[in-house]
Symmetry: C2
Subunit: 189 residues, 2 copies
């Protein structure tokens, strides 16, 4: 692991705990047992660290969505795949997801624009999947946006809940979340 990677790893922990804006370069350096000035031999700015974390996440989701789009399957299976890749990243990299959720607004210039483009494209792809499911009769014809929003809200904030009770089996979690998102929480009357 390079020094640069170590810095980003430490930053993930601190940014996640206290928020990007509240963590100073001196804090970050102290956590790694050296001085703030030394960080600049490995990274060129604080925002560059945030950008690397955010872009990794954005590219992961873009890549996974490409996969979901490229295969000819029904809507239910597509949604299961979407749920699955969200949960995979939540389990392997919860800090990054948290940071992206809370602090992507602090990306600057080109990073901000590029990130937002990928994020919007992802949402549009998911919207398309849902719309197709509504057309085919697989999904309720309720407001598409409500379905999109409630699904993404749950998946994007799963990290909050997962941290509190980690050790939960990944596959079991996928099954439970899929069931609840697709079929709701009520027992069938």
């Amino acid at each position: 692991m390079t020094r640069r990677q170590e810095i980003i790893k430490s930053a993930k922990t601190l940014f996640r705990e206290r928020g990007y804006k509240s963590v100073s370069m001196r804090d970050l350096a102290k956590a790694m047992d050296f001085k703030a000035a030394s960080l600049y031999n490995h990274i060129s700015s604080k925002e560059e660290i945030l950008a690397e974390i955010a872009m990794d996440v954005a590219h992961y989701f873009t890549r996974e969505m490409e996969l979901v789009r490229s295969i000819d399957i029904n809507t239910r299976t597509r949604l299961e795949a979407v749920i699955s890749h969200h949960i995979d990243l939540t389990v392997t990299n919860p800090e990054a997801i948290a940071i992206v959720n809370n602090d992507w607004m602090h990306l600057e210039g080109n990073n901000f624009e590029e990130f937002l483009k990928l994020r919007n494209a992802y949402e549009q792809d998911l919207r398309d999947i849902i719309n197709k499911g509504v057309e085919s009769g697989e999904l309720k014809s309720k407001n598409t946006e409500v379905i999109l929003f409630s699904t993404l809200s749950t998946l994007r904030t799963l990290h909050l809940w997962y941290r509190k009770r980690s050790g939960v089996n990944g596959q079991q979690l996928k099954n439970d979340i899929t069931e609840i998102l697709l079929n709701g929480i009520l027992t069938k009357a």
Copy 2:
């Protein structure tokens, strides 16, 4: 409206747009067309503004939950009431909800503790409602925590989506969200 209330109103807009930590007292003063020093005739610190915003929200939810608990109704109706009061506050005070979600961690000392106490109590009350519904057979015996988390995630982040398309009818929104949370997004086979 007192000066103090005007300050808090302006702060809600700015904190919501850029995050509590990124808004300086100078920024806030500029938005109100006076100088930072003058703010301190009406409030005693920046954190006091955050605390007032957060406590208002916490007390609102505590009050509403008391109401839900005090009436003897079935689980479905209780959950509908919970959804309803979340949506009401989202419609009337979306900035406050956003700020509480993102920045409650920046509350200090006693404010932090008091807020967290109320928040945890609220979650416990909702957990009790869900557990009771599982026992009575009204809710699926899937993991209670998954039900709790997916419901709260959706309700707490509704403000993000509501802002983009405000003007949506409140009652229609309640109906759609209730339907999707309780019965899921799939059509019945």
